[in-house]
């Protein structure tokens, strides 16, 4: 090693070397690497498919939330026009929550898109190395003595092995992220199932559990601002169209 004593940079290196050293016989290393190379290329393909599936699911959720945002906004306006400020506030709280979730989903979709592109590049790079390894093996065999060829091929195999370990690490990290996002997506689905983003006309009266959670989750100042803005718009615009949403649904 070239005289660098950096601990941070050497730890992973040491571990990868240890992993590769395990196959003692260079011949065995070659067979092992080649098998591993093929397996890993398959795994990378599966990993990419999994990332794509998660991304699609998140996109569908985002579309649904977008619809909820529009619906809750309309309902808030209707409630306010009917003079039911409490109901308007609840609708806006839910809209804020849906918007926050939507933002976070959009960010996650972007992140998964980036992971997908990165894995596609990694797969391509590994393919190129494997191909290069095959070519080199043939050239070296033809030009060098058996002993020298063995050394050179073994070195090249280590290089491919390092790339394999790296693609494996990249895939593991991408899948871990997908896993985290899946958990998050499940949480959003639970909120949906609990009726958090549902039609407000379906709601019972008074403060239920969801309402209390909402009050904690949403920024009340944001809701206050929006309510004030909506009031101003309504005051300047059309007269209240009462009757759509009645006071105190029971």
């Amino acid at each position: 090693m070239a005289g660098t004593s950096g601990r941070f940079t050497t730890i992973i290196k040491a571990k990868i070397s240890k992993m590769l050293d395990r196959a003692e016989d260079p011949g065995e290393t070659l067979d092992y690497s080649y098998q591993k190379q093929l397996e890993l290329l398959q795994n990378v393909k599966k990993g990419i498919a999994e990332v794509v599936t998660s991304k699609k699911r998140l996109q569908m959720q985002a579309d649904k939330l977008q619809q909820s945002v529009v619906k809750l906004d309309t309902q808030a306006r209707q409630a306010l026009a009917a003079g039911n400020e409490d109901l308007a506030r609840t609708a806006l709280e839910r809209k804020t929550l849906a918007q926050n979730e939507l933002q976070s989903l959009d960010a996650q979709v972007q992140e998964l898109e980036a992971e997908q592109q990165k894995l596609i590049q990694s797969e391509q790079k590994l393919r190129t190395k494997i191909e290069s390894f095959r070519t080199k093996k043939e050239v070296v065999k033809a030009q060098y003595s058996a002993a020298e060829a063995r050394v050179q091929i073994s070195e090249a195999a280590t290089g491919v092995g390092e790339e394999m370990a790296d693609v494996g690490l990249a895939m593991q990290r991408a899948l871990d992220k997908t896993e985290d996002m899946r958990a998050r997506a499940n949480a959003v689905e639970e909120l949906e199932a609990a009726g958090t983003f549902e039609d407000l006309t379906q709601l019972g009266s008074g403060q239920d559990d969801i309402d209390r959670q909402l009050a904690e989750l949403t920024s009340s100042s944001q809701v206050d601002d929006e309510l004030a803005k909506m009031k101003a718009e309504l005051g300047a615009g059309s007269p209240p169209s009462a009757g759509q949403i009645e006071e105190g649904k029971a």
Binding site: R7, I12, K129, E162, D166, A170
Partner: protein, 92 residues
């Protein structure tokens, strides 16, 4: 010297940059040991940028082994701490 940024790629980093790289590496280690998130983020991204800026990316067909491997760019402080104490990213 060949340096790999894990999950990203390999770079050829000329001799004259090694001392500085080592210096930045020590700053990262110090930040991790001090459990100092801002210092960790600053020093780790400085380390990555130093390699990307001063190194030349290796051809994909190049089969040489790396002399150094830098952890993945998205490594969190918690992961870095684990790296020094536990099994780290790769099991032993």
């Amino acid at each position: 010297m060949i340096v790999r940024i894990a999950t990203e790629g390999q770079y050829e980093l000329p001799e004259e940059f090694h001392a500085e790289l080592n210096e930045i590496d020590n700053r990262v280690v110090a930040a991790v040991e001090a459990d100092d998130e801002p210092a960790y983020k600053a020093s780790f991204s400085a380390l990555l940028e130093y390699i990307r800026t001063n190194g030349t990316p290796l051809e994909d067909t190049d089969l040489r082994e790396s002399d150094l491997i830098v952890p993945p760019p998205d490594l969190t402080l918690a992961e870095a701490e684990h790296e020094f104490t536990g099994d780290g990213l790769l099991p032993d």
